[in-house]
């Protein structure tokens, strides 16, 4: 039985993964040619006193130098500049929680966070949860054991909200967990199974 982790690696003849990976590994500033930026530069200089575009972000324990537009959300930075596509965009309006990441250990909708607002704060995405040898976070393992995900699109957000909850409240009641997870929509309706997973993770942590 193979896992689809293998399958998930794109086999497209043209792939950008290696390129993105090398940037991530080197910690170098992401090229200005990164998606999302290319045509935006209209040549006009930013106003005096406004934010510097080249900033350092602390993502999943690494310092990353990135060129960030003033009107750029963290979700777009993660997905289109840092290659961290585990963070999903479900609505881009802070209504669904699919883009939830931890900022200083607290769950935030990354779609409704300006990247410039997280300078100096620790950002954790779903990609940052696994241990150095690929060991799953206790929440991730519990999600598998309880068959939490259905379609899986909201799952990274659910995982991040659960991790955030357990950092703040390691032994929540089911009612507390339900309240804490309430900002994460799941159209498949897997709420019950996700809550089972949160409770299982709390027990085993």
């Amino acid at each position: 039985m193979t896992t689809t982790d293998d399958m998930a690696i794109g086999r497209d003849p043209v792939t950008r993964r290696r390129f993105i990976k090398s940037i991530i590994a080197s910690g170098a500033a992401t090229s200005a040619a990164a998606y999302y930026l290319a045509g935006c530069s209209d040549g006009s200089a930013p106003a005096a006193g406004s934010v510097e575009r080249l900033i350092t972000l602390k993502v999943n324990g690494q310092d990353r130098r990135v060129d960030i537009l003033p009107n750029e959300t963290l979700a777009m930075t993660l997905r289109y500049k840092l290659g961290l596509t585990g963070t999903k965009l479900g609505c881009d309006r802070g209504e669904c929680g699919a883009c939830t990441v931890l900022i200083n250990d607290v769950g935030h909708n990354s779609c409704s966070t300006l990247t410039h607002g997280v300078r100096g704060r620790a950002v954790t995405t779903v990609e940052g949860l696994e241990g150095p040898n690929g060991e799953l976070h206790v929440v991730q393992q519990a999600m598998i054991d309880e068959l939490g995900p259905q379609c899986g699109f909201c799952t990274p957000g659910q995982v991040m909200s659960a991790v955030g909850l357990l950092k703040a409240n390691p032994k929540p009641t089911r009612a507390e967990a339900r309240q804490a997870m309430a900002g994460n929509l799941c159209r498949c309706g897997a709420y019950d199974h996700y809550l089972n997973a949160v409770m299982r993770a709390a027990k085993s942590a």
């Binding site: 209209d42 009107n71 939830t100 409704s112 309240q179 804490a180 309430a182």
Partner: protein
């Protein structure tokens, strides 16, 4: 409708109020004050608001936190709703504010959404939000208040060309608690009672509050007058997460040992463009025993004068019921 990409703007992240005020003066109407950003960014993504300069207030520490003073409580306008919902002093003395804050949107929104932002947010009329050229958007018509308009969420009172309502859950609480709002500008500081902060369409159809371009709401002061009173807050919305009130109610009541209501303030949201203080209800119940009969009698006057639209007359019985509960169940 195809929009989701914010237009270009310059972003400023001042660390103190003075710098922020200077920027506001410099950019005037082209500046946008951003608190938690949870509504601001949506406006930008919709491209309905296109500021030249966005002044992000979240780095100004002086605007954050809850402090006890001799007169009562001071809450920095940039204090998050999550902090307010969890704050032990607020929970102990003004529990309804903690409750109201905890009923706003979702945990993620409350984590960054601020009390100042919640109080100052713009109308949720769906026509206005759809980018229609209505009065509130500077146009010359209203789509909601027409014979065919879809106006279930709209107002019962105070319509004046525009029929939008206040969407805030914390605004009625502030009016009930007789809070004062401290506003700073480069010209100085002014202090307004809560009920003067919110303005209806007859006063200014394009603004929900008195804030002018150069103003910053810095602090909300809650007097100790109502600390520890009997409180009631309830929000009725379709969904129990991330939804706006169909009607909400906030009340503070003092009851004497013999069960007679000594004093009360009761306010409803989502029925008018501003939080609606129910003076008639207050008059009816003051001096009466706190019981079912008083609650029922008061409720019958709660919606007096309502002018319902086609789809929102349910707000009349709902308002009456919430008022009844506020008196009966607090």
């Amino acid at each position: 409708m195809t929009k989701d990409m914010m237009p270009k703007f310059d972003l400023f992240q001042p660390a103190d109020i003075e710098t922020a005020l200077k920027l506001l003066d410099k950019y005037g109407v082209k500046a946008w004050k951003m608190a938690g950003g949870q509504d601001s960014l949506d406006w930008f993504k919709d491209r309905a608001k296109r500021p030249e300069a966005v002044i992000d207030l979240s780095g100004i520490e002086a605007l954050k936190g809850v402090r006890e003073t001799e007169a009562g409580l001071e809450i920095g306008a940039m204090t998050t709703l999550a902090e307010i919902a969890a704050n032990p002093i607020i929970k102990e003395k003004f529990g309804l504010l903690a409750t109201a804050a905890s009923r706003v949107a979702s945990p993620q929104i409350r984590t960054v959404g601020t009390i100042g932002g919640n109080l100052s947010q713009d109308a949720r009329c769906w026509y206005y939000r759809a980018g229609m050229d209505c009065y509130r958007a500077g146009g010359n018509t209203c789509y909601a208040g027409t014979p065919q308009g879809m106006n279930r969420e709209h107002c019962l009172f105070g319509a004046s060309r525009c029929v939008a309502v206040t969407p805030s859950d914390t605004a009625p609480v502030m009016v009930a608690l007789e809070a004062e709002f401290v506003i700073r500008s480069s010209k100085g500081e002014r202090i307004l009672p809560a009920d003067k902060y919110f303005i209806g369409p007859a006063v200014n159809i394009t603004h929900m509050t008195v804030l002018e371009p150069g103003d910053i709401l810095t602090t909300i002061r809650i007097p100790s007058k109502w600390a520890g009173a009997k409180f009631y807050f309830e929000k009725v919305a379709d969904r129990n997460t991330w939804d706006f009130a169909l009607v909400n109610v906030a009340s503070a009541m003092k009851v004497k040992a013999d069960g007679v209501i000594e004093d009360i303030r009761i306010v409803c949201g989502a029925v008018e463009c501003v939080p609606r203080r129910l003076n008639a209800v207050e008059d009816i119940v003051k001096g009466s025993a706190k019981n079912d009969d008083t609650a029922t009698l008061a409720a019958s006057s709660a919606a007096r004068g309502a002018a319902p639209l086609n789809f929102n007359h349910f707000k009349i019985p709902l308002m009456e019921n919430l008022v009844k509960r506020a008196i009966r169940d607090s």
